[in-house]
């Protein structure tokens, strides 16, 4: 696979290899399954080794059972369940062998297999057994109050104190990975843009880089620089949205209004630059679909926005009631963050110093100075401060790109050959995003695997909610800043 070194492993030695990797300080980022042809299923694991810029990928035949690695790498628990649901791979000794993605009521015909044959659960998510008569069980959702995405949360609580919490996601599973299959590689970027609506650029960028690596081509310099500009503009409006939303949950009304207004200004800026408030319809494998003309107005507009933002942050940092609700709320320990594969501002607030832009540079990031903020407290306040620091870094990066932008080509020829594979990645606003692209014999896409940052972070979120209280729940969820669409795909 272009972008990752392939290495074939055997089922018998898999657990040992995983343990050795853990002891060496490496990390399994994600795992997926695909069918090279109609009879076979191959399972792949993407690894990152310490202090190495390239990735490694293990491949394994998945037709007979595969030993579950969830006991060594708890973050793989969900990936294995997803593979079982969609590709019928059997994982032996999995600690939570219950359906994750498909549930009763979903279409049962997936990949030519009648899911109904497998003994599905009752359609409700599996919950731990609770031995207590006076504990309330509240199923909250999937339709929640206010304009929010659909997901169901089950609270086991006594009045204020939450004893256990379990989110039940995948109500929004649209089967986007399958939607890619059979599409032309240059047009499928339209699909990638709409996997997660507020992560358009990150998804499109990761997809384009995967296809470019599969084709062995490279986007021109101007396109790469503009890609960085677009990615940072997307990070801007997303983080501004989450800062405003956080003020909403701490009922700081004017703070919420100002945060949302700044987000609106950023979106209007996007529209003026690209014609789309979400920066859609710009990226394509090989570069950009058309050139952008930032001129001087963009730099001035960004500077104006930055000045307003700095004043906003000063006011936030002086709002004691707001800070009181954030400090020590929802602490995520470093150990849990690492074991559950947390990513993005959430992991950086818990002391894990990782950022794809710096550790595995892509687009034009290798040429740009990057500041990666790190904190160790892991509470909601730390997550807010990380986002604030990333916004400031984004402003700096945008200005730098605008300064160094040279005229030039923005699109190169990019046609991946038949049966090629490519890995693309991007550090989106919510964390590390990966696309693994397999091109079929006819030159069209045969399999696309999307590893979204929200998928990883939703797994870690419950560990901050157990033994907390109901009043802090909304604040905690807002401080994580997760999307459900990205997780459910």
């Amino acid at each position: 696979m272009n972008g990752a070194q392939l290495r074939s492993v055997a089922a018998e030695t898999l657990a040992g290899d995983a343990q050795k990797l853990r002891d060496a300080g490496g990390r399994i980022r994600f795992a997926y399954a695909w069918s090279p042809n109609s009879d076979e299923v191959e399972v792949r694991y993407l690894l990152a080794l310490p202090n190495r810029r390239d990735f490694q990928m293990w491949t394994l035949k998945g037709d007979r059972g595969v030993p579950s690695l969830a006991r060594i790498w708890p973050s793989l628990g969900w990936y294995e369940r997803e593979m079982t649901d969609l590709y019928r791979v059997r994982f032996t000794d999995h600690p939570e062998p219950y359906p994750l993605v498909l549930r009763q009521g979903s279409s049962t015909q997936v990949n030519g297999y009648d899911f109904a044959e497998r003994s599905a659960s009752s359609g409700k998510a599996h919950l731990p057994a609770i031995d207590a008569t006076d504990v309330q069980q509240l199923p909250f959702g999937p339709i929640r109050a206010d304009v929010l995405e659909s997901a169901e949360f089950t609270f086991f609580y006594v009045g204020e104190h939450i004893i256990h919490y379990q989110p039940s996601l995948f109500f929004k599973h649209r089967g986007m990975e399958k939607r890619f299959e059979g599409c032309r590689t240059d047009q499928a970027v339209i699909v990638a843009e709409r996997v997660s609506g507020v992560g358009t650029v990150a998804h499109a960028l990761a997809y384009c880089e995967a296809v470019e690596r599969a084709a062995g081509c490279e986007a021109p310099v101007r396109a790469r620089a503009l890609r960085v500009l677009l990615a940072e503009l997307e990070r801007l409006y997303n983080h501004l949205h989450y800062l405003g939303h956080l003020c909403h949950t701490t009922t700081l009304k004017v703070g919420e209004a100002q945060g949302k207004l700044l987000e609106e200004r950023a979106k209007q800026l996007n529209a003026r630059l690209t014609g789309s408030r979400f920066l859609r319809s710009i990226l394509v494998p090989g570069g950009l679909r058309r050139d952008l003309a930032p001129g001087t107005w963009l730099g001035e507009a960004l500077e104006g926005l930055r000045v307003e933002f700095v004043a906003y942050v000063e006011r936030l940092e002086a709002s004691e009631s707001h800070l009181d609700r954030l400090i020590t709320t929802g602490p995520l320990s470093r150990r849990v963050a690492f074991d559950e594969g947390t990513t993005g501002p959430v992991e950086r607030a818990s002391g894990l110093d990782r950022d794809l832009r710096r550790d595995h540079p892509y687009a034009h990031y290798a040429e740009l100075p990057l500041v990666v903020p790190i904190l160790t407290e892991g509470d909601a306040y730390a997550r807010e401060r990380i986002r604030i620091a990333e916004v400031e870094a984004a402003f700096a990066l945008c200005q730098r790109v605008l300064l160094l932008l040279e005229p030039g080509e923005v699109r190169a020829e990019c046609a991946p050959g038949p049966l090629s594979e490519g890995l693309g990645w991007a550090e989106g606003p919510r964390g590390a995003l990966f696309y693994a692209v397999h091109v079929g014999g006819d030159g069209r896409l045969a399999r696309v695997k999307i590893k979204s940052p929200s998928f990883s972070n939703w797994r870690a979120f419950p560990f901050t909610v157990h033994e907390s209280n109901m009043m802090d729940y909304a604040i905690n969820e807002a401080s994580f800043g997760l999307t459900v669409a990205g997780c459910d795909r």
Binding site: G105, S106, S107, Q109, V110, P142, I143, A145, D146, V147, E149, S150, F171, K172, H173, R174, G175, M176, K178, R179, C183, Q187, I190, V191, R194, V195, S196, G197, V198, T200, H241, L252, K253, V254, G255, A257, Q258, K260, L261, E263, E264, Q268, A271, R272, L273, G275, S276, R277, F278, R280, S281, R289, R315, A318, S319, S321, V484, A485, G486, D488
Partner: protein, 261 residues
């Protein structure tokens, strides 16, 4: 807390006076392509080949263009050699009748709208939003409706937490299978009179994900829809325009695929 109060009071009004003048906030936003049949080359079909949602079909008597399926990806405008599919800023495309989204050369425009019976809700409408599997883009724009720039409350339109209080059910997303029952329960939980609005191309016709193994093709056949607003996603000004049109406070601008007014 004086700092926020003072700041709010000295900031002035950030709300745009639009639609009563002022900016609608959508400078430079590209909308759905305009179809100019006279510029279309016979037998070309490039746009139809490239459209990811089959919104354009090449037929013997010209193109069949369904704006209800358009995801505003601009691929057809790039593929068109003659300018028959022309990029435009038409994004205010809310309609009451699904057929108004399909381009028709028919000289007879659709009939003038009958009185809708929504007089009582003219200045007070409560909306319950249901996310039936959207990509979160529509939600982002809907959440933006309550920011100081658009300020939906000044129109007397509110989002409510429960369908019991709602007049309008606003649905986004192509209706994934697990969300079908909750969506129907939300509709059943609304007291009459009640209406349904499909926001976003996914809800109108399935959009990009529509028709896969995991979801349907929008609200058609699931709920009786009273208002369609395609777009991917429709921007907040388009949503406000569609809601005001629904309340008879502004005329419908799209008729049989032609933008009027």
């Amino acid at each position: 807390m004086a700092l926020w109060t003072l700041f709010g009071l000295t900031s002035g009004k950030a709300t745009t006076p639009w639609p009563a003048g002022g900016s609608d906030g959508q400078d430079g936003v590209l909308g759905m392509p305009r179809y100019n049949p006279e510029a279309c080359r016979e037998g070309c079909g490039e746009c139809a080949a490239v459209c990811p949602t089959h919104a354009i079909e090449a037929r013997h008597n010209g193109l069949f263009v369904d704006y209800g399926r358009c995801v505003v990806c601009q691929l057809c405008t790039e593929a068109c050699p003659t300018g028959a599919m022309e990029p435009s800023n038409d994004w205010a495309l809310g309609v009451r009748d699904r057929d108004d989204l399909v381009w028709s050369n028919d000289a007879r425009r659709s009939a003038a709208a009958q009185p809708s019976g929504r007089g009582a809700f003219h200045r007070s409408l409560h909306i319950r939003h249901v996310d039936a599997g959207s990509c979160n883009g529509c939600e982002s724009e809907l959440q933006g409706l309550n920011n100081p720039f658009y300020n939906l409350h000044r129109f007397g339109i509110f989002f409510t937490p429960s369908p019991r209080f709602a007049d309008l059910l606003l649905v986004t997303g192509p209706v994934t299978h697990p969300m079908l029952e909750p969506l129907k329960a939300a509709y059943a939980g609304m007291p009459e009179p009640r209406w349904v609005m499909a926001v976003g191309t996914c809800a109108v016709s399935g959009g990009i994900p529509g028709g896969g193994y995991a979801c349907g093709t929008g609200l058609e056949g699931v709920l009786p829809v009273d208002l369609y607003l395609p777009g991917c996603p429709p921007n907040p000004a388009a949503i406000i325009e569609a809601l005001l049109m629904f309340l008879d406070r502004t005329p419908q601008r799209l008729r049989r695929g032609h933008v009027v007014g």
